[in-house]
């Protein structure tokens, strides 16, 4: 137990001091890594804990990006506030999506494909709506001022997303030890059994998807403020959905540390392959695909899942040897 906290402490020290010895490039990679760790952590709530696998979290990401941007550009609303409004709207959309799907007990592939379609609906809607400037996208005017969510250097963005990621991780940790968390896992593991124990499955799933959607929007707002440009093709793309779910799966679905560990593998891995295989375009993506497949083949429960398994087995082993000793001595 203590060892765990020491590790977390060390990690936090590393993350907080990272800008001191990092290059600008590494800081950018760190920011993107944390951003997807954040989004993946949000995804984890509905998909990891309650097992409802969403393939369309780009919907909420995009809503976060667009809401804060439109509010800023059209109505001069501060993005720090716009961020929360975006989250509320995304949560509302998630609520509707959840209501439609869970009400009719959609599960598995059907749920995944519905979320995918939902993200597509939003993308097509935005790109056909004059109010959102169609496919032209919206640029955020440069106005460097932390009060307006714009920082002189990358360090500001880094600490913003770092703190957001820590907050969401704490939230997920608290959920994982709460009634809600246990209910969600119970739903994932065995819905019938969960019901027999008084778990209100519909209500819990609704809470999970609403929370998950709303939180994902924060990452969207951050993305928009970081790049100062949003476009339906970039923020509602299915690529974004994949980038959101990949860290959690690689790291370990339904674990608190999974999405973070996963993102620290997946995102740098993409960079690494593209640097190592830069001579021939495409080879980098082949390498990336191969490595992702290998990771999933050999660690189907994700890196953190593997680790837990290993710890469990070691514990069990220790206990057994202890018991043997005891039986010998007695």
């Amino acid at each position: 137990m203590k060892k765990k906290w020491v590790l977390i402490g060390l990690l936090l020290v590393f993350l907080f001091t990272f800008p001191l010895y990092s290059t600008n490039y590494l800081l950018h990679i760190g920011i993107i890594t944390l951003m997807f760790a954040f989004a993946s952590q949000a995804w984890n709530i509905i998909s990891g804990y309650s097992g409802q696998f969403s393939f369309g979290h780009a919907a909420f990401f995009g809503v976060g990006a667009y809401t804060s941007t439109v509010l800023l550009v059209e109505y001069n609303v501060n993005p720090w506030i716009g961020m929360f409004i975006g989250a509320i709207i995304a949560a509302a959309i998630a609520f509707v999506l959840g209501f439609l799907t869970f009400r009719y007990k959609l599960k598995g592939a059907y749920f995944s494909l519905t979320t995918l379609a939902f993200a597509e609906i939003l993308r097509v809607f935005v790109k056909n709506t004059d109010f959102f400037r169609k496919t032209m996208g919206i640029m955020i005017p440069l106005d460097i001022n932390p009060f307006w969510y714009q920082f002189q250097t990358r360090v500001g963005y880094y600490y913003t997303i770092l703190i957001l990621t820590i907050i969401i991780t704490v939230i997920v940790y608290l959920i994982s030890r709460s009634r809600l968390g246990f209910n969600l896992i119970a739903i994932r593991e065995n819905e019938d059994a969960a019901q027999s124990l008084g778990v209100r499955t519909f209500k819990n799933k609704m809470i999970a998807i609403t929370l998950s959607g709303g939180l994902t929007a924060f990452a969207g707002t951050f993305y928009a403020q970081y790049l100062l440009f949003v476009k339906p093709e970039t923020v509602f793309a299915s690529d974004i959905s994949v980038s959101i779910l990949m860290p959690a799966i690689v790291g370990g679905v339904g674990t608190v540390a999974g999405p973070i560990v996963g993102s620290f593998i997946v995102t740098p891995l993409g960079e690494l392959t593209s640097q190592m295989f830069s001579n021939l375009a495409g080879t980098n993506l082949i390498a990336y695909g191969v490595i992702i497949i290998i990771i999933i083949l050999f660690m189907p429960e994700g890196v953190v899942g593997r680790y837990h398994d290993w710890v469990n087995r070691r514990k069990k082993g220790n206990k057994e040897t202890q018991e043997q000793k005891e039986s010998v001595t007695s």
Partner: protein, 289 residues
């Protein structure tokens, strides 16, 4: 909308629907039997296109004659993918399998990019280039052929699954793995065959598309999402459903395209999709083949 526009759109929609259908049939077969949502289906189709393209360009083989060639080639590749990779994760959670097929898609697409270059390529087949004209209405020859082949594949596959021994074994595996194993069906081999068949059908779709559009390594993206819609519409795992689903999507897309401005017709497809999922979650024709 004038009557002419309506009828012409209907024709175009039906023909395009035939193409969506054949894409969807392969996908639905794989899902129905193995429960895999195969993201690499579009990439497999792309490979089928290249087989036909090269056969035509290098050896002058007519695209419809190279159809068996691409089907066989992709059948083998599909079976190998199943044996080499997917077999190891058949019991893993759905999301793992999904990501694996996603990885396979990346590998196939970018290998094609490295081998064939990203250039758009197209073939011109003289006897196909004339359209059939009936008064004011026009019908594209390669699309018409694709439509009929697609329908034949759907019927053949349906017949195969219902009547042949192997087909029954495949259905048996789909319904009950353990039960099938008890009566001596080797589910591993059935899975090779199923994924191979799915890939072969994707290849047929690709070959049929080659005279119609330009091909490039990333062409699969154009179809994959729409194909998912079709598959769900027809009921995951339902072959005839996938065929009819394809027609429905083709027609609604064309009619919506005629009726609305912009690209809102895409919206129509997804809205139909979500409505179907909500009110008839097993597809219009119920699940299972």
């Amino acid at each position: 909308m004038s009557l002419w526009l309506f009828i012409q759109s209907l024709i175009d929609g039906l023909l395009m629907g035939g193409i969506y259908s054949i894409m969807a049939i392969g996908l639905t077969l794989i899902f129905g039997v193995m429960g895999i949502i195969n993201f690499a289906q579009g990439a497999l189709m792309m490979l089928g296109m290249y087989v036909t393209y090269w056969a035509f360009t290098l050896a002058g083989i007519d695209p419809y004659l190279s159809l068996p060639l691409s089907a066989i080639a992709l059948f083998i590749l599909g079976a190998l993918i199943q044996k080499g990779v997917l077999e190891r994760v058949m019991d893993a959670p759905d999301h793992n399998i999904l990501l694996i097929t996603f990885g396979i898609m990346m590998i196939i697409e970018n290998t094609a990019l490295v081998l064939f270059s990203p250039d758009f390529r197209s073939i011109t087949v003289p006897w196909l280039s004339e359209t059939i004209k009936m008064g004011d209405y026009v019908v594209s020859k390669p699309k018409l052929i694709a439509f009929f082949i697609s329908m034949s594949v759907a019927l053949l596959l349906y017949w195969f699954l219902q009547k042949s021994y192997l087909g029954k074994a495949i259905r048996g595996t789909a319904n009950n793995k353990i039960g099938a194993a008890l009566v001596g069906i080797k589910s591993k081999r059935i899975n090779y065959i199923t994924f191979g068949l799915g890939a072969a059908i994707a290849a047929i779709a690709g070959s049929l598309m080659t005279p119609i559009i330009s091909i490039s390594p990333s062409i699969g993206h154009t179809f994959i999402l729409k194909t998912f819609v079709v598959v769900v519409l027809g009921g995951l795992g339902n072959v005839l459903g996938a065929f009819v689903g394809g027609l429905i999507i083709g027609v609604s897309e064309a009619l919506a395209g005629a009726a609305f401005s912009g690209t809102l017709n895409e919206l129509v497809i997804y809205v139909i999709f979500v409505l179907i999922l909500i009110f008839r979650p097993k597809g219009i024709f119920g699940g299972g083949s």
